[in-house]
């Protein structure tokens, strides 16, 4: 028994479109195109198998057709820029803070704050640019969700780093007060295990806050994707009702 090239093509396209809100529409459109092309080629004298194969070849590769629906590339650009910004922030934080036992630098939270703000603004600018340059509704939706994710990640990282810094600054001040020395004239070296335990607690709070931000972001993205899928489905239903 020979396999149907059109069914294979559509199955492959289905796999590649997984997770896209306009998946149903693209699949239906590709199937309609391929079946009509197959019928026309059959009518012109080709055998059924040859006609199906020729229809698939004429439409083009599955990858290109899936790409035509838009979405992943645009979201990928936004995410790549957001990820690069987040990595840059962490690298800057690591470079500014050479070791735990040293005193924290007062300027570090400001750097992180403005760095995080810069990444968020840059991400939104890129998202807007891609939005304006593209037109497929799926691309726009993916860009919005990409911007949500990037902004959420950036906020989580900035929040976490800020909390860590505040915790360390508190430890440093407590240590200096205990030793009767002005904080700005010495290098702190808290050896006590209790100090480390407190720092770990702050770190856990940071991780918790970051997870909450990420969970809220994921929920917002999920709601947005569902709303978009409902809108696309509503378009099709309205058209069917008009017939």
């Amino acid at each position: 028994m020979t396999r149907d090239p059109i069914a294979d093509y559509l199955a492959d396209l289905d796999r590649r479109l997984r997770g896209r809100p306009n998946r149903e529409r693209l699949l239906a459109e590709a199937e309609d195109h391929l079946r009509e092309s197959e019928a026309a080629l059959c009518a012109s004298g080709l055998g059924a198998d040859d006609a199906a194969r020729a229809a698939v070849v004429r439409l083009g590769s599955v990858r290109d057709v899936a790409r035509a629906g838009g979405g992943r590339s645009a979201a990928g650009i936004v995410l790549a820029i957001g990820a690069a910004g987040a990595v840059g922030l962490m690298a800057a934080a690591a470079a500014k803070d050479p070791g735990y036992q040293d005193a924290p630098r007062p300027a570090l939270p400001l750097h992180l704050f403005f760095g995080g703000l810069g990444v968020a603004v840059l991400t939104l600018c890129v998202a807007w640019t891609v939005w304006a340059a593209s037109s497929a509704r799926a691309t726009r939706g993916a860009v919005v969700r990409g911007a949500m994710l990037t902004t959420g990640m950036t906020a989580a990282i900035a929040l976490g780093e800020l909390a860590i810094h505040l915790g360390k600054q508190r430890l440093y001040t407590m240590y200096c007060v205990r030793n009767g020395e002005p904080p700005h004239q010495l290098v702190c070296n808290p050896h006590g295990t209790r100090d480390f335990a407190t720092a770990e607690l702050h770190a856990l709070v940071c991780v918790g806050a970051a997870l909450v931000v990420l969970a809220v972001t994921a929920y917002a993205m999920h709601r947005h994707a569902r709303a978009e899928a409902a809108r696309l489905g509503a378009d099709g239903a309205a058209a069917t009702a008009q017939r």
Binding site: A28, E36, A136, A239
Partner: protein
């Protein structure tokens, strides 16, 4: 005709093809090929990104119908699409006149 030459004008050609009556994707490709006597025989997959782009820009609108047992998406020109087509046709005629003068054989 080289497909590279055609790509820059694909949007205008699609708008022109849909000016008279709505059509689905396969029919748009067929109309392009027939109206140009086969000169515009495009790779079929290249038409869909243009259709989605034009729809997103508000120059086309689409609706779903049922053809036999299959769902079919039919595209039609919007008012903005008609305006855009008029502008692009005027630009193209001006461009073609200029190119024609440039390549005209010397008297």
């Amino acid at each position: 005709m080289r497909s590279e030459s055609l790509k820059g004008h694909l949007d205008m050609l699609i708008l022109a093809v849909l000016r008279d009556s709505p059509a689905h994707g396969y029919s748009v490709i067929q109309r392009l090929a027939e109206a140009s006597d086969g000169a515009f025989d495009l790779a079929e997959g290249t038409v869909y990104p243009a259709l989605y782009r034009l729809e997103g820009a508000g120059l086309l609108a689409s609706s779903e119908t049922v053809a036999g047992a299959r769902r079919r998406r039919v595209y039609r020109l919007t008012a903005a699409g008609e305006e855009a087509l008029t502008e692009r046709v005027a630009e193209w005629r001006s461009f073609a006149r200029s190119v024609g003068r440039m390549i005209a054989a010397p008297a």
